[in-house]
Symmetry: C2
Subunit: 165 residues, 2 copies
């Protein structure tokens, strides 16, 4: 099948900052325009299967609504906190499955790669990364928790590195 | 709704030994009768999202076929192999989500709890655990990889500890 359309080069990237308590997400389209961003928050008082279901269902709603073309997910940085690593990895498993169930290809980037791509310096401070994200997307004063803002950096990183601009 | 049936006390437990390369599974019903057991194997040459999808789909088929009442999953033992912990946790996330999507409640047990419940000794050797599983289920010479046989121990552990016999 061939379908030509003028908007065919309009690419939308779904950026995801994975977590168990909170998953940051953003949709950025070509030209580095910020379409939308937000976060999925699960309650620590809910059982784990309920929380993983909430992440799955919410992400599914976001994908159905914005129909992104590709996804970019932050790669887990292994640390010594066993519980965090295990729980966040469970969430990543569910996130990756949800992307796959929606036929959405994804790339993974480390925090250093994201900072390097966005600011030119892999060890930039959080505030500097946020500052550059605001400049690149033309958005003044991004609101919301770090995870939501970080996910924009992940989407931008994918755009800058994969040549989708 | 109330539905009485003679087989109402026939309880089926789905035992799962989670992994990324291989997931062991078993279905054990009351009276410690082994209904079926096996494993899901994913190919290391496939991309991670494909492998997680295979685990999700295969487990879903098993649940639809055997309609278990409860599930028991082995709890991940945290070790220093970062890659293993992250990958197995991703698989556990997908497994737990699949159970939840099928409205199947689950319990988690550590390897020590499984050995303790089945053999009376938390640090029993693998061969001893297998021997006792064969006696309890009345099955001579269980075949298949360790993961498949281990999943029977997990299901039995849940039965013995939760009073479902």
């Amino acid at each position: 099948m061939k379908l030509w359309r003028n908007s065919a080069n309009r690419v939308k990237i779904l950026g995801i900052d994975p977590g168990f308590d909170i998953v940051g997400w953003s949709v950025v389209r070509d030209g580095m325009k910020l379409v939308d961003y937000g976060f999925i928050k699960t309650s620590p008082s809910d059982p784990i299967d309920e929380r993983l279901l909430q992440i799955h269902r919410s992400l599914d709603v976001i994908i159905k609504e914005y129909a992104p073309d590709e996804a970019a997910v932050e790669k887990l940085f292994f640390n010594s906190n066993a519980k965090t690593v295990i729980d966040v990895s469970k969430a990543i498993g569910v996130i990756v499955l949800t992307l796959k169930l929606n036929d959405l290809a994804f790339s993974e980037y480390t925090p250093v790669q994201v900072k390097q791509s966005v600011t030119g310096f892999g060890h930039a401070e959080k505030n500097q990364v946020k500052f550059v994200i605001e400049k690149l997307t033309g958005t003044a004063f991004l609101k919301g928790p770090d995870d939501a803002v970080d996910s924009i950096g992940i989407a931008l990183c994918h755009m800058l590195r994969s040549g989708v601009r």
